[in-house]
Amino acid sequence: MMQTLVGPCFVVSLVIFFVGMLVRAIWYVRGLDWRLERVAYAYHKERSIPGALVSIGKWLLPGGTAGWRAQPVAMLAFFLLHFGAVLLPLFLLGHTVVLEQTIGIALPSLPTALADVLCVASIAGLILLAVRRFTSPVLRQLNTWQDWFVLVLTFLPFFTGFMARLDVGAYDTWMLLHVFTGEAFLVLAPFTKLAHIVLFFMSRAQLGMDFAIKRGGDTRGGVFPW
């Protein structure tokens, strides 16, 4: 069972994830329409590229934008989750070994202690996000089943992986569950709000270009001061 999950199933889920995300990115770009959006994407490259990069870059920095600074608790929860969520799947020692064995890509791996910290931080971030989603009147108005679903879908690989790492018993079961939930995440990501893994960059780039090309880019000297 473990052999199948780590071997063919893993490869299949990776393919679904990457092809799915690629299709979403291509669909996004192909669907852009300068007349409808009223953004001259093809012109003013001197402004559009920096506009896109700054719009992405500043939002990737904790406290990098007025928006983040206005909501420190939300910011804390997001960044706690996302540092681990981006770094651990790619660079955790166990993952790099599997990646090398199954598809032959060798990535550097994180020191174990750092990986542990990132994992705990991510779990803490997820719990904070869940508490926020449950208690805030704003979020209670907005919540849908899919919001909870993606939160649980993200939580499970972290939690199962961490239980296996702690090695408090039933290691094989936790590991099996970890691989299974991790693959479920990969397979479902392109079809849920988790597609923001790639669409975040698309959407931020678009709005950055919108402001840089059209909404004051010229007068501001290029980019919007997020």
Partner: protein, 462 residues
């Protein structure tokens, strides 16, 4: 059977406008709207053709994180009502319309209209607070276009769109009225300013000036002030006979075809008169409609206007900087004053640095609002909301946010270079009975403060 007032067809005749105006408060208009059937197939087709990847992605990836809530002045002033969260407002209207593939009824469309015009001014502030870069204001503007096309638009904006289509102006100002008003203003000021002229349709000037129809109809002294300032600064300028109206109630209404017609009239005047630049009056949405969005409606691939189009504040900053307009230091504003940043040319066109440059010349005690510049709050009456009787109550609640901001500065004067902001500030002072704060456009201030060059003949009227 009574006349059809509410339908998806835009108003294109004087008779149509008169019929709508005769329906006081739009009572019959809204009664007809309640019986207006939604053409669901056409609606679905519109969504398929125009709701593309950007908007669909925005609707889909919204993480429901709620970070947009506090950015919205409607949310704040309605006691943090969750129904006023930008994300909720758009998801429950446009989002739902897309999800149901256009299978929505009249009641749904009327609710969407209430939200699109009564709960959002398209100020785009929430777009700055969304980690995913979702600009809900842009989506509401898009939704307005869809609603307009299907006949669900507030009565005043149906009229406004019709005015632009029939008169080429937001009010029934004909070409004759326009030219007569210009002549009247020259005559009116001839004693004080003997050399004053308003050159009409003159080719090859440095500046072609365009303005707001209500200045012509209700505040002609604003036109005179513009003329005096061009005169005093020695500017070679003109106004076009046709294509002088820069406002666009069509933009507020979501009437994109009407928007394009307005633009083409202005750009045709540029083609005829070949000015070096165009200067538009102290109006926010007019600048957005003519300079920011306008080039696209006119089909210009570069997204740029054919010649530089300056908002009035850009022109004032320029003539102050170049020394063509000099301020008498003794006449600078002494009282504490603040500045209203109009969303349409500050957040959405980066002109905040020019208004601040001007304040440096004219005010001794200038105080910023918090927040300000790009992060300013809407005055509370933008996006057409000031003019819609149906949502007057909702607007008045929202006005409180700006009033609190103004009061917190301790200012006694709000410099307000935008018609919509000016109206909203006037109304908030009345609604909330604040009698100690004044508000003003730039032109009257500059007229009082400027130094008159020796080569300009001026007869003090004592």
């Amino acid at each position: 059977m009574s006349q059809i007032l509410c339908s998806p067809t835009p108003v294109t005749t004087k008779e149509g406008i008169h019929a709508l105006l005769a329906d006081k408060g739009g009572e019959e208009y809204y009664r007809q709207m309640r019986a207006l059937k939604v053409d669901q197939n056409a609606l679905y087709l519109d969504l398929q053709q125009t709701c593309k990847s950007r908007t669909r992605t925005w609707l889909e990836i919204c993480a429901h994180c709620g970070m947009c809530a506090d950015s919205c002045f409607f949310y704040k002033t309605n006691n943090n009502d969750p129904k006023q969260i930008p994300s909720y407002k758009i998801q429950s209207t446009l989002g739902e319309m897309c999800k149901r593939k256009g299978r929505v009824d009249t009641e749904f469309m009327m609710h969407a209209m209430d939200v699109a015009w009564g709960q959002c001014t398209c100020c785009n502030r929430c777009g700055l607070y969304c980690p995913h870069g979702i600009d809900t204001g842009v989506m509401f503007s898009y939704l307005r276009g869809i609603l307009f096309k299907h006949g669900f638009v507030p009565w005043e904006l149906k009229i406004g769109s019709g005015m632009h289509r029939v008169y080429g102006a937001q009010m029934d100002v004909t070409e004759e009225d326009w030219v007569d008003t210009l002549e009247w203003m020259v005559d009116e000021n001839a004693d004080e300013w003997p050399g004053l002229e308003i050159p009409v349709e003159k080719e090859g000037c440095d500046v072609m000036y365009i303005c707001n129809a209500r200045e012509v109809k209700h505040y002609p002294e604003d036109l005179a002030a513009a003329a005096i300032l061009f005169h005093v600064t020695g500017t070679s300028w003109t106004v076009p006979r046709e294509g002088w109206e820069t406002t666009s109630l069509t933009m507020f209404a979501g009437d994109w075809e009407g928007c394009a017609q307005n633009l083409k009239r202005i750009y045709a005047a540029v083609d005829r008169l070949k000015p070096k630049m165009v200067v538009g009056t102290e109006c926010g949405h007019a600048h957005r409609a003519t300079v920011v969005e306008g080039p696209y409606w006119a089909g210009r691939e570069s997204g740029d206007a054919p010649v530089p189009f300056l908002h009035y504040v850009e022109w004032v900053a320029k003539v102050l900087r170049e020394g063509k307009l000099k301020i008498n230091p003794a006449k600078k504003l002494k009282m504490p004053c603040t500045l209203q940043d109009a969303c349409n040319y500050v957040r959405n066109d980066g002109l905040g640095k020019y208004t601040r440059e001007i304040m440096g010349y004219i005010a001794e005690d200038f105080r910023e609002m918090d927040p300000h510049n790009e992060h300013n709050f809407c005055c509370g009456g933008g996006g057409g909301l000031n003019g819609i009787g149906l949502y007057r109550k909702e607007r008045n609640v929202g006005l409180k946010n700006k009033l609190d901001q103004i009061r917190a500065t301790g200012a006694q004067m709000v410099v307000t270079p935008c018609h919509n902001c000016w109206d909203a500030i006037r109304d908030m002072m009345e609604v909330y009975e604040e009698h100690n704060i004044k508000w003003t456009f730039l032109k009257p201030l500059l007229l009082k403060m400027m130094e008159i060059p020796e080569n300009i003949e001026h007869v003090d009227q004592g």
